[in-house]
Amino acid sequence: MISFKKCLPTLSLLAFLVIWQGLAVYLDSNTLPTPEAVAKVFWQACVSGQLPFHLGVTLLRLVISFAIAMLLGCAIGIVLGRNKKLDAFFDNWLVIFLNVPALVTIILCYVWFGLIESAAILAVVINKLPNVIVMIREGTRMLDQDLLDMARCYRFSKRKTLVHVIWPQLHPFVMGATRSGLALIWKIILVVELLGRSNGMGYQLHLFFQLFDVAGILAYTIAFVAVIQLIELLILKPLDKKALRWRK
């Protein structure tokens, strides 16, 4: 029974492939290629270097915009969480920025700054930033006052208080912002690339759309999902494990 339970994820994946194959064969249409055809396209795109190049470009944009949004968002979130007056002043701004559609920000950035790399990065950052700020602000509001008093009483420096008292309490909120942020930025970056860049996954998908190349779209999607899974497995999970090692 245990081994059957362990096999379940693999079995479900196999079942998915079988259904896909069955449907593709049954429909026999260009709009739904078989898994095998997609795998072939995937392999060719890898060997030709096309897929790694465009994926790399998108990943680079993701890393830069994600880092800027997280750093700025954490700093602003902590300040707003600790300062009631500033929070009251900027609260409306946050609500506005949270609700501006991503597409509007992207178009405005391109119109105001031109179809350049920094405009693309800025558009992604502006879309993600309010989200990080809100999450970190909520975390900061929930900080344990008893521990902060202890730190004050034992004359912890500001840096010591931030690193040893505040940051560990914010960890779940930062991880939440990271996970939801990665998912959000992936989606926005593709639109940014589709609208104003001449490389990256978004640009490629746009090209496939014009050529009606569904196999290409699916091959790139698979690469995409694989990268997200790798980030979760190789970076986020180990980080979680290290930060929460003190738990029973």
Partner: protein, 242 residues
Amino acid sequence: MTDIQIQIDNKTYPAAADPSIVDLKLSLTSEEFICLVGPSGCGKTTLLNIIAGLDNDYEGDILVGRQHTAPKIGYVFQNPRLLPWRTVRENIELAVDERQPPEVIDALLEVMQLTAAQHSYPEHLSLGMSRRVAIIRAFAVDPEVLLMDEPFVSLDAPTARQVRELLLNLWQQRPHTILFVTHDLREAIALADRLIFLSAAPMQVVSEIVVPISRSERGNELAIESFRQQLLKNHPEIKQLL
């Protein structure tokens, strides 16, 4: 070590109509163990927070020697307030000066019988052990005054007695001025050089009594109990404060 004078002219909470503390004077002699005894809610924690510099919204003054400065504080809170994500040793090290040699902490851990647990996380400790860590942290900073806010509350009697003995042992090895809040008269007599009885609303000193029992006799429960009886008989005014 220097003597400390505490004078609180007025402490009123913003939402309260009446002041919590009015014209309270305490004079702490260097290396003296003082127990503050008073009914719950009389403002003992408020007083400790003022001395610790956590509450600056009051009228008054604290003199360390002749200087108007905040004294260096060690504070054992009612709950231990350890950082759960740092080990026992890291919790202590974070509070002390980085230049202090590690042997000081080694020695304190040994006296409080926590050497084996120094690399454990607080979640893996019993309440009694966590309290001992908090006591070590307070001693490790070599404070000018050590504040203790009912640190043995909610411990079972044998554990409380054990931690109390360890505390006294530590204090005799490293004498510090201690201000210890409790509402347990037996505990106060077992620990203190001097008892200060406080009334509620506003907090005022009702009486100050020196405990004449020698340190070697503090473990003798009969001696403690007989002094308690005598105290209640001679000072009827303190009965209502217990």
